[in-house]
Amino acid sequence: MIGVLNQVVSGIATGGIYASIALALVMIFLATHQINFAQGEIAMFSTYIALMLIQAGVPYWIAFLLTVTISFTMGMLLQRFVLEPLSNAPILASVGAFLGLLLIFNNIAGWIFGYSLKPFPTPFGAGEPMFGGMISRHEMGSTVVTLAVLVAIWAFFRFTKVGLAMRAAAYNPVSSRLVGIPVARMLALGWGLAAGIGAIAGMMVAPIVFLDPNMMAGVLLYAFAAALLGGITSPLGAVVGGVLMGVIENLAGAYVVGTELKLTTALVIIVVVLVFKPSGLFGKALASRV
């Protein structure tokens, strides 16, 4: 029983990371109806930037903020110069562009930083596990950070004028322009946010899985499964789906299939969701009367 509880708690910790990436995916999907296949690689690349800064002697939290800022800018520029021009092209073209970005980030990272596994520092210390050995300090700290990020994002969209305008631009670009919202700028902002969230997730997961250019492939797969499980149109669903996926991953790893089929587990969940409940847990159809 203690074992199960252990698995659940540590599942929630990694689940928070899946939740953030899933949220970033859902944000992009709502705004552009595209799936960002490069989301993971952008996060991985950002994590290398953080490592570079830390190794250059920059204190952790300053490096953290700098990395988020750099990723944010990078995301905005990518939207402006690569994806915006393809916004009216067929699916194949936008998917092609995303895969192109994936290849570029993956290979440039390997070229600059090498393909070997690199340890990544945690700011939460390596001391004794907390709560009677239930959860490591890093897991606890990363859960708090991801939770803070999710709450901040929620508050931003819920309570600020720009957040409201971003939601409006995602749901109804035509009407948004008619109330004076610069839709293209909102999309770029959304991309910036998604890249920033990805960077934080990367920095939180790297101490656990070690940093290498392919670090995010598994995380991205779990985030995809999380987004679909929660409902690809629901930000809340992405968060719930992320936490669920973290728990499922740990329980399945410990008691069902072992860790060697982690990725296949995610694939199976994706297929099962698509077969039995394509709208996910929270992605409900909108009630509307005309």
Binding site: R177, G180, I181, L286
Partner: protein, 237 residues
């Protein structure tokens, strides 16, 4: 009277198919102007052209300044509020959020609050449904929401695209009564496009008759309403 909007030799097309063939018309400051015409005459397209939603040739002057080729959001920011066909409701957002979006371009918080209160006075139904998802409103309520949203921009010019479309006569009456009050009280010009000519003429000062992308006739609303033959052949009432 000074001209708020001047449209000269306006041509417009959706891709290959041309819709507007050289329109000339003006909207006077402080008045209600109406564009009448049958389905497909180019009424909606004219409004879209003014808001920069399609490529056009010719000239569009707003308060003497050319606005052609500007982005839609920048034209809106100049003070042109557009209630589009289909009402443009943000279905997924609440009624309150829809209204807040109306004042997106403004920063005068106190004045926005005053205007918001005024809208609740004009449309008490919206106040009752403030926290409801806008997609669940009835057609009439969505039309009210669209007008209120546009008014919250505090516009100099209000473009209305078929406010009566698809609504029950009673609701249409209610909406046009409110529009009448707005016209009398607010210092604002309105360009309204309508298929229901008698309704539009009842609140308009000046009218243009549009047929297949050209202006067929223009005059004061009163003169046009009086013209028996015109009424029968073009306006159908």
């Amino acid at each position: 009277m000074p001209m708020l909007l001047e449209v000269k030799a306006l041509h417009g097309a959706y891709g290959e198919s041309k819709v507007l063939h050289g329109l000339d018309f003006v909207v006077e400051e402080g008045g209600v102007t109406t564009l009448l015409g049958a389905n497909g005459a180019g009424k909606t397209t004219t409004l879209r052209a003014i808001s920069g939603m399609l490529k056009t040739q010719g000239e569009i002057l707003f308060a003497g300044k050319p606005i052609q080729g500007m982005k839609t959001e920048d034209i809106t920011a100049l003070g042109i509020a557009h209630v589009p066909d289909g009402r443009g409701t943000f279905m997924e957002l609440t009624v309150e959020e829809n209204l807040r979006l109306g004042s997106y371009t403004r920063n005068d918080k106190a004045a926005i609050a005053v205007d918001m209160a005024r809208m609740f006075e004009l449309f008490p139904r919206l106040k009752e449904r403030l926290t409801q998802q806008a997609g669940t409103l009835s057609g009439g309520e969505q039309q009210m929401l669209a007008i209120a949203r546009a008014m919250l921009l505090n516009p100099k010019l209000l473009l209305l695209d078929e406010p009566s479309f698809g609504l029950a006569p009673l609701i249409v009456r209610e909406i046009f009564d409110i529009l009448g009050r707005i016209v009398r009280e607010a210092r604002m010009s309105i360009l309204v496009v309508e298929q229901n000519a008698s309704l539009a003429l009842s609140i308009a000062d000046r009218a243009y008759l549009l047929e297949t992308g050209r202006i067929m006739m223009s005059g004061t609303a009163a003169d046009i309403a009086k013209d028996e033959s015109l009424r029968r052949s073009y306006l159908g009432y």
